[in-house]
């Protein structure tokens, strides 16, 4: 075998250009480097001109040259057009969108077919019902993890972790007939067993999301 292809996670720096003045960009960079000379050496760096900045290939080339002189490992550019990137002889990273400040829009509960599991889910096992509901008719052991894009139903003892609406569906709910869960979560909002009222242990319960708070109540006596 001559090659192996592997996905790796790693850290790289993003240099956001907030002005079209390349000389100023490099000058401020030198300012940073004078206080921490080794901070960025050998770390891969991606150039990211800010939104709305009119960028030319010439500008990019100037900055890149300046970066090389300062010992940066320049790997690419983002947030520019493909033709501009190739004109500046740079690799374009498309999947490097700046993290959005806005809250993700809550996804609707997935309406795909439900996945039914009738074998016990053992410690260390993980089951994910992608795109739909998960129905488990056997016990879910401590240390096991069940997840669904939609609702979760456990018609047995739930001792492990149950995560409903993992893609963000805040309408998702978790139902179980014998609740002893280590963790219950809906759309990323979770409660640990410590935080669950002991009176709700060992009975059938339903969990849902009210705002950002996970609510749990007896499913047989839904008065509260």
């Amino acid at each position: 075998m001559a090659i192996e292809i592997k996905g790796r996670m790693g850290t790289f720096m993003v240099l956001r250009m907030l002005t079209a003045d390349t000389a100023e960009v490099l000058r401020q960079l030198d300012g940073h480097l004078s206080t921490a000379p080794d901070l960025l050496s050998g770390v891969p760096l991606v150039l990211a001109p800010a939104d709305g900045l009119s960028v030319t290939a010439e500008m990019l080339r100037k900055v890149v040259l300046g970066l090389k002189e300062r010992g940066f490992l320049q790997v690419g550019v983002t947030n520019v057009s493909e033709s501009l990137a190739s004109a500046a002889d740079l690799g374009l990273m498309r999947n490097l969108a700046a993290p959005s400040r806005e809250k993700p829009v809550a996804a609707a509960v997935a309406a795909g077919p439900a996945q039914v599991v009738s074998q016990p889910v053992r410690s260390g096992q993980q089951i994910y019902a992608r795109g739909g509901d998960l129905v488990v008719t056997a016990p879910v052991s401590a240390g096991a993890e069940i997840m669904a894009d939609g609702h979760i139903h456990v018609y047995n003892t739930l001792r492990g972790r149950a995560l409903a609406g993992v893609q963000g569906a805040t309408e998702a709910r978790i139902f179980c007939t014998d609740q002893r869960a280590e963790l219950l979560a809906i759309a990323g909002h979770y409660l640990l067993s410590d935080q669950i009222d002991p009176a709700l242990s060992g009975i059938s319960t339903m969990a849902w999301l009210k705002g950002d708070l996970l609510q749990i109540q007896s499913a047989l006596n839904p008065g509260g």
């Binding site: 074998q119 016990p120 889910v121 053992r122 410690s123 260390g124 096992q125 016990p139 401590a142 240390g143």
Partner: protein, 268 residues
């Protein structure tokens, strides 16, 4: 068709080897040609428990590597007819076991034996994985305490996903629970989980409950499977366990602490 029975637990020190020796001897005593295979390469113990450590010449790893044939490595038990053991190597480690090698050895044993009992090492790594991979039945040995139960649960998950039967989509490995070192008096005091609790958590068929007993230690020291000590509680409990495995209905006898001091004094 020979049946491959793995004795496994996840956790160490719960009684896998004691159970393998007793169970193998029980099957042989019932007239089935039985071999017990020690998969704990590097930490060979089965030969000691079965009292044949002085007769080990070749081992499992030698057979896998073609340095000896099966008949040279097998040790016939002197007390029980139909019983043999295949010892592990003490000088190698678990990497010396290969999947193809294990399969070849098990196929060879299947020609001469009715039951192949695989004594799994602790853990869930290579040795334990290979011990369970070809299994038809699994005896899951558990002590009545939470960490042992959790590890057994993990192993049950592996049995239903990482065995040949699971990978080929055949009938699943038949799982049987054996609770060992059970002390009804300590259960009464709340120091141990009860058999009911263990069964509820693991939700598998209970095959046997072996009481905590000095007979087990004495038998190990003497190099004799404890099932051959017919007067002992542990020996009788293993006999019941084997009988149930072979299809007999037997009550669980050692779930309660029947004998008080009074009846002990008067030989009750």
């Amino acid at each position: 068709m020979a049946r491959v029975v793995v004795v496994t637990s996840g956790k160490g020190g719960v009684g896998k080897t004691t159970t393998s020796a007793a169970f193998g001897a029980g099957l042989a005593r019932a007239g089935h040609r039985t071999v017990v295979v020690d998969f704990d390469v590097g930490l060979r113990n089965l030969d000691l428990i079965m009292g044949c450590e002085r007769r080990v010449v070749y081992d499992f790893v030698n057979v896998i590597h073609g340095e000896a044939n099966l008949n040279q490595a097998l040790i016939r038990d002197k007390r029980v007819e139909n019983l043999a053991i295949l010892p592990a190597s003490q000088t190698r480690d678990k990497d010396a076991l290969t999947q193809e090698g294990v399969e070849k050895v098990l196929e060879g044993l299947a020609e001469d034996f009715d039951y192949i009992v695989c004594d799994s090492p602790a853990g869930i790594e290579r040795g334990a994985h290979l011990a369970m991979y070809y299994a038809d039945d699994a005896l899951v040995v558990t002590n009545p305490e939470v960490s042992s139960v959790r590890d057994s649960d993990r192993v049950l998950g592996l049995l239903s996903s990482k065995t040949r039967r699971a990978e080929r989509g055949e009938d699943p490995v038949k799982e049987h629970l054996i609770v060992t070192r059970y002390s009804p008096s300590r259960v009464g005091k709340g120091e141990m989980l009860s058999v009911e609790d263990v069964c509820e958590i693991l939700s598998i068929n209970l095959l046997g409950v072996i009481p905590e007993s000095t007979a087990v230690l004495n038998a190990s020291n003497a190099g004799m499977p404890v099932i051959l000590d017919e007067k002992s509680d542990a020996g009788q409990a293993y006999s019941d366990t084997v009988a149930r495995f072979l299809g007999e209905e037997r009550d669980h006898r050692f779930l309660t602490d029947k004998k008080g001091l009074f009846s002990k004094l008067f030989g009750g």
